[in-house]
Symmetry: C2
Subunit: 212 residues, 2 copies
DNA sequence: TATCTCATGTGACAAATGTCATTTGTGATC
DNA sequence: GATCACAAATGACATTTGTCACATGAGATA
């Protein structure tokens, strides 16, 4: 028998999941033995009881799912937690992985959730296909840096990228069809806007804050 | 009925998988409809036939699984491919994700493979627990760069790190208790060893090849 | 001892870099 | 038409940077 704990602030979701899971017959019987409506509750219950798998929402009041998972896993590292959420958010996915989640499934395609639970019980980790599609870009991701916040225009952005490839002013000028003097002026302006001293600091800034 | 194609250079493995999969009764019946022993064969067969799921080894003669998968997915992007391999290699995992694999399972724990196949049929992606444990570090990894290969010593490494923080020669000299002239000489030497032109290119090199 | 290597340092030089004041041309706005 | 804003360009300047030839001193080796 597989012993499930559902954490979701929407009773409709918990209810639906319970029905789906408990009526699944493709293998060991699954039973939902407890339900919580927020992260804090979840931590309390998971501390006093043992569950085979926890299905948890991420966005919840009082304490969100990621924090709750972190606390639970800090206490019982072998707990298998599957996140079941509506949002396909890079930040969420990254944190879920870091926390050590065993799954990240989207609510919109949670039909096969019973199968997921079984796979997780087998030591596997199950992700929604769309989640995994995002991983490669996340592995070599570019942060979305808010150029506007620093009042930096498109041409200036292009120049920054070229600096970050190691080009000299002359080379940049040639690539951008500008005179070298203009590139210098742009450089000077960008450096001042970003409060940097020279092109090397700009390159560092680029790799540290803009692209990673 | 779920229609499986197994690609593995070891007939014992293919045979064992076939038995495990076809005797599983927890849901739709699973049938292994074809088998191949290397990547090239796999590409040929996957082009002429349609399969629901392809289970593929990575290390194979003639053409490895990753390349084969890439070709197959280039042709039929919706193909669901699960890698089944012995190796927990960062490079493999990264490529598998990039290629668009629906799973990465270790042979040593392939008991639940039928469950995995079903989860993948449901649009999920299934990874061995150990694979996913590696992802967080991969997401913020530091490459281990072989300074020795370029004959770069400890002091030179330290200098490189300082350049990558945007320090000037004078500042580096002060931090390392050297004269500015010495720093310049070191710089010149390092640039030549790495075949770079200036400190900005060195900073770029650092972020692109050394630390990420 | 004589020699060699190596890290450190100096001085000189050309090139690249960043800053600034100023000019020019274009398009928008009044 | 007059004015303004702005991108592009120029020239001058001080500073930083990279290169090179060479000096110095310490430690290793023959």
């Amino acid at each position: 028998m597989i012993n499930i704990f559902i954490v979701d602030d929407d009773p409709l979701v918990s209810g639906a999941l319970k029905v789906i899971l408990e009526n699944d017959t493709d293998g060991d019987k699954i039973a939902v033995t407890d339900v919580a409506g927020n992260g804090a509750d979840a931590v309390a219950k998971a501390t006093s009881q043992d569950f085979d798998v926890i299905l948890m929402d991420i966005r919840m009041d009082v304490m969100d799912g990621l924090e709750a998972a972190s606390k639970i896993l800090g206490n019982k590292p072998d707990t298998k937690i599957i996140f079941l959420t509506t949002f396909l958010d890079d930040e969420y996915i990254n944190k879920a992985l870091s926390v050590g989640a065993k799954g990240y499934i989207l609510k919109q395609d949670c039909d096969g959730i019973a199968t997921c639970v079984r796979a997780v019980m087998d030591g596997k980790t199950v992700f929604a296909g769309k989640v995994v599609e995002k991983l490669p870009e996340m592995l070599n991701r570019k942060e979305r840096f808010d150029y506007a916040e620093f009042d930096i225009g498109t041409k200036e952005q292009e120049m920054i990228e070229l600096v970050a490839e190691g080009l000299s002013n002359k080379e940049i000028a040639s690539k951008m069809y500008l005179s070298e003097g203009t590139v210098r002026n742009m450089m000077s302006s960008v450096l001042s806007k970003l409060d940097l001293r020279d092109r090397t600091q700009l390159a560092c800034f680029y790799y540290q804050r803009i692209k990673v």
